[in-house]
Amino acid sequence: MTNSVIQVENLVKRYGDVEAVRGVSFNVEEGEVFGLLGPNGAGKTSTVEILEGLRTLDSGRVSVCGLDPQSSATELKHSIGAALQSTSLPDKLRVMEALRLFASFYKRRRDPEELLKRFGLEEKRNTFYSQLSGGQKQRLALAMALVNDPTVVFFDEPTAGLDPQVRREIYDIIEELRREKKTIVMTTHYIEEAERLCDRVAIVDHGKVIALGSPRDLKARSGGTTRIEVRLSKPETNGTLKELEGVIDARQVGDTYVLHSQRPPQAIVSLVKHLEAQGNDLISLEIATPSLEDVFIEMTGRRLRD
């Protein structure tokens, strides 16, 4: 507790009548990659932007690097770096100029030249920001988050809107930072991203942390079961599906039935037998290995992707 880089206790943030963050608590330890996973509008960005000192909180307690982001904003900003969501740079600013300019604001600096190399932007050093591709812009944003060699880095949806190829590039960069033991706080609504990159994940929904732990622990907690998703031509009751051999849990999410099983082959056989007996048809069947999606479905009855 004492050497946590970030401490958040009962954080509340309101926008008018809307409570965007409703009593969020978590700690981030030095050298870990901490993820806030949740659907859009869950309050992830608000939480992170309060930690960065960009927004004020309505109640609760927050400390970053031992500082209060509200009362010691300027001091704090020297020790944090951030790649924000919905941000941009002047169109006619060149890549290298941007790195140099932002580095100039800090007491502690990293060599912009080295960052340029590391983020694969050497060939683009003299390119205007407006002429960069989405992936290049994002790599520049990540590089800029590191210009002051920060103690904590915040990445808000670092791969949102990028195509899969570029997304993997960004993953590689974050994994490299993780190996260097940088403390990173990131938000995402991609399960794959949270599972692959984060040491610990807080699953956030409607402004609350609904589960917190390492991806492995969270998955184990949800039973470590395989998810079978089926769509049927005629409705079934959750109750009867749950009774099937090999099925541990069944629930309806939208027009799909989500079954959990520790012995998938058995569950499928009994499901098919049951459907045949009922004269029901199988429209589709999908099998997914345990993921954080299961945790989310279990806690909220909804899918993360919606």
Partner: protein
């Protein structure tokens, strides 16, 4: 301090790469220059000098367009947010844009003086110290006005509407286009509430009649512009918003209206005393009868 300097450099670089800048800071002022000096003054040196006042004032006043547009664009596109995560302060952002604008306006002003000298053979320019001080304060204060406009508007569209609403009175009621002396009485009275009126008349009295900085007319213009510059800058820092979605509280709009106070007071006093009006009248009349009222040196040629 270093943040302020690097930001200033960035603003200068960015402005020079912007095509809009070319229009507002180069084409438009020189367009006015040649229109006034060549057409209105018919190239007569001492009349050119009389019209140099309005030309310089227009060059200086244009500042508020560029600055309001730049700040709103920065906010709308989320560029300001990116600066907000750094130790940069609102004053750094605002002051750097004012200084960058000043640095970029000076060459235009200098070239206008040079053109007057080389093309229209104006041999002397009255009191250059007065002129320089008025130009400096005018640039800074109108730039701050632009920053206030940016602070009370949410979108570029709103900004441009307000800019138009400000620009036209400045253009037509201040003596910058139609000499004050030619305006109807009612319009004159309204004009006396505008900072532009004092800038135009002040610059005219400096360049045309060589009034010193400590002469009452120049001093009055300098002081009122200085008070106004401080007030507008202070307000723009108070109303500064980093986030595109943070809307302006209504209280802020009232605060912004406070920028009108200095010239409201001055306007009331001027409407009573008629000082500036009679000065403008006298200068205008001296154009047609230069011998009567202290002929400018090069009018004898």
């Amino acid at each position: 301090m270093t943040n302020f300097l690097t930001l200033t450099r960035m603003r200068i670089q960015l402005t020079l790469r912007n095509k809009m800048f070319l229009f507002f800071s180069v084409i438009m002022p020189f367009g006015f220059f040649f229109l006034y000096a060549g057409v209105f003054a018919r190239g007569i040196p001492f009349v050119v000098r009389y019209f140099l006042g309005p030309v310089l004032a227009l060059t200086v006043m244009g500042s508020f367009w560029g600055l309001s547009a730049a700040l709103v664009t920065f906010r709308e596109q989320g560029i300001l947010r990116r600066f907000h995560v750094t130790p940069v302060t609102p004053s750094d952002m605002l002051a750097s844009s004012i200084v960058a604008n000043f640095v970029l306006t000076l060459p235009t002003v200098l070239i206008e003086f040079l053109l007057a000298r080389t093309i229209f053979h104006v041999t002397h320019f009255g009191n250059l110290v007065s002129a320089f001080l008025l130009i400096a304060l005018g640039t800074v204060s109108f730039a701050s006005l632009g920053l206030v406009v940016a602070s009370v508007t949410n979108t570029m569209q709103e900004t441009q509407i307000i800019n138009q609403l400000i620009w036209f009175p400045l253009l037509f009621l201040s003596g910058a286009t139609v000499p004050l002396a030619n305006l109807p009485q009612v319009v004159k009275r309204v004009g006396l509430f505008l900072p532009a009126t004092y800038l135009v008349t002040g610059l005219q009295s400096a360049v045309y009649w060589a009034f010193a900085p400590w002469s009452l007319d120049v001093l009055l213009a300098l002081c009122s512009l200085a008070v106004w510059a401080i007030l507008t800058f202070f307000l723009s820092a108070q109303l500064f918003r980093w986030e595109p979605e943070s809307k302006i509280p209504r209280r802020a709009k009232l605060l912004a209206a406070a920028t009108a106070i200095p010239f409201l007071l001055l306007g009331i006093w001027e409407n009573k005393t008629n000082r500036t009006m009679s000065l403008a009248q006298a200068m205008y009349e001296s154009l047609s009868a230069p011998s009567k009222s202290a002929p400018p040196a090069d009018s004898r040629k």
